[in-house]
């Protein structure tokens, strides 16, 4: 199905199942321990051996000598595979650094060997016997030091290029009120709860991997390229994923090493990346240095807005797209953005939940708060004054739907924004300094091609198959709801099967495109199935109404079961898109409100209240969508207050590479959270009229927290995370 004209009335609009706050279809399995994650697939292939991965102990250099003899002879060991044993390997299109290194080392904890043994304990003990002699070389590990050598990112992608509209330097120079500040955001880790894990089994030339991956089809392609085998010989299965957040978008070392280990040991192999390996071995959100310049008239109209960002990555990698939202969020005739990329030798940077916007808005929305104060304006009033209904770079190109103003207004009312003191440091509650902060949320709505197959079986069960993944997002449930709505059956008559490359290729889970795109693919397949059913029953499919387990046409009413008396019926299709996302800017919007209390003596920050108001098209399931948003708010609170991969700039690695050193929010850090979805449908996005919401929730939260801390204390910390050591010497008099 080609979606190239705005959606009109369709069966989803009935909203009997779609749009209802249904419990997760996979809920009972998950709460009873019955959902099987990758490492737990012990019955898919007999005689599984255990793999254990050894990571490089240096960040840059070469392996002079790698002695695996002792490991190979250790009890229970079946095979040891290094780059030498593996033979020629290519690299996946989406990988920057190699997944099995040697002799060249590109980053710390890059995998250099996998040991396969009868038991986990034996594999781990044997891995400790591998002797490595490195020739270490100096590398580039400090972004601030590398900043002067950073250059414009390579490639033709326009989103990587500098943008210039009007005369930014002139307008900024002549603006009566201006801000020019530099901010930093640190490297961050996805820190999903389930480690990257894989069971790999070969049958002749055919490889099956049961793994934990967001993008099944990408993994098939990149694994085939890495091994140099046809992609038809690879099957990837990923039914349950214990969190991804972008960290499982790509083929990673667990898949490759399990496959290589299984080939060498001639046995199926299971392995998980050890937790202390994950943060340096896999990808992370790169640190940024960002400069924002805003010029405005005295009454608050932005006349010039500029945003520059510096970040680093392995050679051949890309920048953190921290300036992208600034091209679209606020009006202003004179504008510029630019990104500069430094070649560095830290582990590979890549996408983490809302890549670009998450760190970009932490900075832009703090700058907007600072600018509002300079203007003597309320931060919401300043934002609303510079709101726009068109792409500020191309005024003839409208947003498909933009209700940022309502998000702020609804939120301000609900949160009690009027009680905020415009002067910081005024609100005292015992030992606590209390403040309110606000920020805009903004994230583009991406649409992706997505396929599905639906089958109405003779038992009356509707089965949906697509290689779409559920990383906690609720895909099982919203896909089931979509199919139930389209065929007019109850949700308990639908079985959803996901995450298998033998199913039609889907959009996968990333960039908050998964929910809208994958359900649109299921919609397309269901349209085909409806046609097949109508034809079988001899009625005109355009007049058929599917409801209550029946097909109605005129005054006829036929049970669905009639259509499948002889054989099951199948519908399969792929949703593809025209240019509606080019003629119209499709984005999602929100407003975050945060109340913090800062201990007047210790500068410890506690979040007291959080509210997000979101405008994101049709909400397919308010229960799971709300969970997506509160989860993103939690991750945003972490980014504001605690999350930071500490870089050892001499040895070139992230020091705090486990879940104790890398602090993420825990129960005690997060208060009750409130989410409001504005009621709306966006007919430009897809037949579902939905948009993404999973990343919108993290966009802007960090700045709202930091702005609340400023309102509480009068201290502006421009280097995230806002920890107490950066505030203590500036705290207001505790007396």
């Amino acid at each position: 199905m080609k979606f190239d004209t705005p959606a009109t009335t369709n069966p989803i609009d009935a909203m009997k199942v779609v749009g209802q706050p249904r419990d997760r279809l996979d809920g009972p399995l998950k709460v009873t321990g019955g959902a099987r994650y990758a490492y737990e697939q012990h019955d898919v292939a007999a005689n599984q051996a255990y793999g254990y991965v050894l990571g490089a102990g240096i960040a840059k250099g070469t392996i002079r000598q790698l002695d695996i003899e002792a490991a190979r002879n250790a009890p229970g060991v079946l095979a040891v595979v290094t780059a030498r044993e593996a033979g020629k390997l290519d690299k996946g299109k989406r990988n920057t650094a190699r997944l099995l290194a040697g002799p060249e080392i590109q980053h710390y904890h890059q995998a250099i060997a996998v040991v396969v043994a009868e038991t986990f304990e034996q594999a781990r003990a044997a891995a400790s016997l591998i002797r490595v002699d490195y020739a270490e070389e100096p590398g580039t590990f400090d972004l601030e030091a590398a900043r002067s050598k950073a250059s414009e990112p390579e490639g033709d992608d326009p989103s990587l290029k500098d943008s210039r509209i009007g005369d930014f330097p002139g307008a900024f120079a002549s603006a009566p009120v201006k801000l020019d500040e530099t901010y930093t955001t640190p490297d961050e880790s996805h820190a999903m709860m389930e480690p990257h894990a894989t069971v790999a089994a070969w049958e002749g030339e055919k490889l099956t991997v049961w793994t934990s991956n967001q993008m099944v089809a990408w993994t098939v392609v990149d694994m085939a390229k890495t091994l140099g085998i046809p992609k038809e010989n690879i099957r990837v299965v990923s039914p349950f994923i214990g969190g991804g957040f972008g960290g499982k978008l790509f083929l990673r070392a667990d898949v490759l090493l399990a496959a290589l280990g299984a080939r060498a040991a001639r046995r199926p192999v299971k392995l998980a990346l050890q937790r202390p390996l994950i943060m340096n071995n896999t990808t992370h959100r790169p640190a940024t240095i960002q400069r924002v310049r805003i010029g405005a008239t005295r009454d608050g109209k932005i006349t010039a807005i500029g945003h520059e960002s510096w970040s680093g990555d392995q050679k051949g990698g890309g920048p953190e797209l921290a300036v992208s939202q600034t091209r679209l969020l606020y009006a202003g005739a004179n504008r510029m953005t630019a990104m500069r990329l430094a070649a560095m030798d830290l582990p590979e940077g890549n996408a983490m939940r809302a890549p670009g916007e998450a760190p970009g808005l932490m900075v832009l929305e703090m700058a907007m708060d600072e600018m509002a104060e300079k203007l003597g304006m309320d931060p919401i009033a300043f934002r609303l004054l510079n709101d726009t209904q068109v792409d500020p770079e191309k005024p003839k190109r409208p947003f498909s739907m933009r209700r940022l103003d309502e998000c702020f207004k609804v939120g301000a009312e609900r949160f009690g924004w009027s009680r905020r003191s415009p002067r910081p440091g005024q609100n005292r509650d015992g030992k606590w300094l209390v403040g309110l902060g606000v920020a805009a949320a903004f994230r583009n709505n991406l649409v992706m091609k997505s396929g599905a197959r639906v089958r109405l079986g003779s038992d009356g069960i509707l089965t949906v198959e697509t290689d779409m993944t559920d990383i906690g997002t609720g895909s099982y449930t919203i896909i089931g709801q979509t199919a139930a709505e389209m065929l007019g059956v109850e949700l308990d008559k639908v079985v959803v099967k996901l995450g298998d490359s033998s199913f039609p290729a889907s959009a996968g889970s990333g960039g908050q495109w998964g929910g809208n795109s994958s359900t649109a693919g299921v919609y397309a397949a269901c349209v085909k199935l409806r046609e097949a059913i109508a034809q079988k029953l001899g009625i005109n499919s355009s007049e058929a109404v599917f409801a209550g387990g029946e097909v109605r046409s005129g005054n006829r009413s036929i049970p669905l079961s009639k259509a499948i008396e002889q054989a099951p019926l199948i519908g399969e299709d792929t949703i593809e898109y025209g240019d509606l996302d080019e003629t119209h800017q499709q984005s999602t919007f929100g407003a975050h409100f945060v109340e913090v209390a800062v201990d007047a003596a210790t500068a410890e920050t506690r979040i007291r209240r959080m509210l997000a108001v979101c405008s994101a098209g049709r909400i397919l399931n308010p229960k799971t969508a709300r969970s997506q948003v509160i989860g993103a708010m939690t991750m945003g609170a972490g980014a504001a207050l605690m999350e930071e991969l500490a870089v050892d700039t001499r040895r070139g690695f992230f020091v705090n590479h486990d879940l104790a050193g890398y602090e993420v929010p825990v129960h005690a850090d997060i208060p009750h959270q409130e989410v409001v979805f504005l009621e709306e449908t966006d007919p430009m996005s897809s037949p579902m009229k939905a948009k993404g919401v999973g990343e919108l929730g993290i966009c802007g939260v960090g700045a709202a927290v930091a702005n609340a801390i400023y309102n509480a204390t009068g201290i502006r910390v421009r280097d995230y995370p806002v920890t107490l050591d950066k505030m203590l010497d500036r705290m207001p008099d505790a007396a």
Partner: protein
């Protein structure tokens, strides 16, 4: 010392043998693995195992008994995904060797309820959507069931303001006591609602 310092200190100790000179300085494992017999009861069923003495309770459950409901998130006692109830107390099963639990009564997530007959806490997690990816969920549920018993037994926590009176159930008590169970999907707000609902019906 707060809970983070405690966790960090525990983490540092656990990491010591690895960080001192890396893998190189580890003692070489000599000969065949040392095995030992141990028997304990899991969810009411007695199991006798002959395990490598290095096997954690977590791996005994997952790899030997194939009870994979208990999750391995970090294998270092940092995340709580492996929480099980041993002789009435919640523990991180990754920080405990299987052979340390002869004759123990162990309850895992599989022992609390089934898909057809959910434990009230499991049902409340579904109702309040107290999870997303589901990987920390068995640990959160086992932890919360044992945690409510701790409050009932009058065991104070860091946020208990008065040690001379019995502990009262509150959201801050729940949050403090559940902070050893990390949920990266960030379902905390919903988890606290689920636990609170169960606690109210128990009381």
């Amino acid at each position: 010392m707060n809970r983070r310092d405690l966790m960090a200190a525990a983490g540092a100790c656990a990491a010591l043998p690895l960080t001192q000179g890396g893998a190189r300085s580890q003692p070489a494992p000599a000969g065949k693995p040392v095995k030992a017999e141990v028997s304990f009861t899991v969810n009411g069923r007695k199991h006798a195992l002959d395990v490598d003495t290095r096997t954690t309770l977590l791996d005994a459950l997952r790899e030997h008994l194939h009870m994979t409901g208990t999750k391995k998130g970090c294998d270092h006692g940092q995340c709580g995904a492996c929480t099980v109830i041993v002789d009435g107390q919640r523990i991180n099963s990754c920080l405990s060797l299987a052979v340390m639990h002869p004759d123990a009564e162990i309850t895992t997530i599989e022992g609390l309820g089934t898909v057809e007959n959910l434990h009230p806490m499991q049902a409340a997690f579904v109702k309040h959507d107290g999870f997303q990816c589901g990987y920390c969920t068995p640990g959160q549920i086992c932890s919360s069931v044992a945690m409510l018993d701790e409050i009932e037994a009058g065991i104070p926590s860091h946020v208990t303001s008065d040690l001379t009176v019995s502990v009262t159930l509150s959201e801050s008590e729940i949050r403090e006591r559940m902070s050893g169970n990390i949920c990266r999907c960030g379902a905390y707000s919903n988890i606290v609602e689920a636990i609170t609902e169960v606690a109210r019906t128990r009381a």
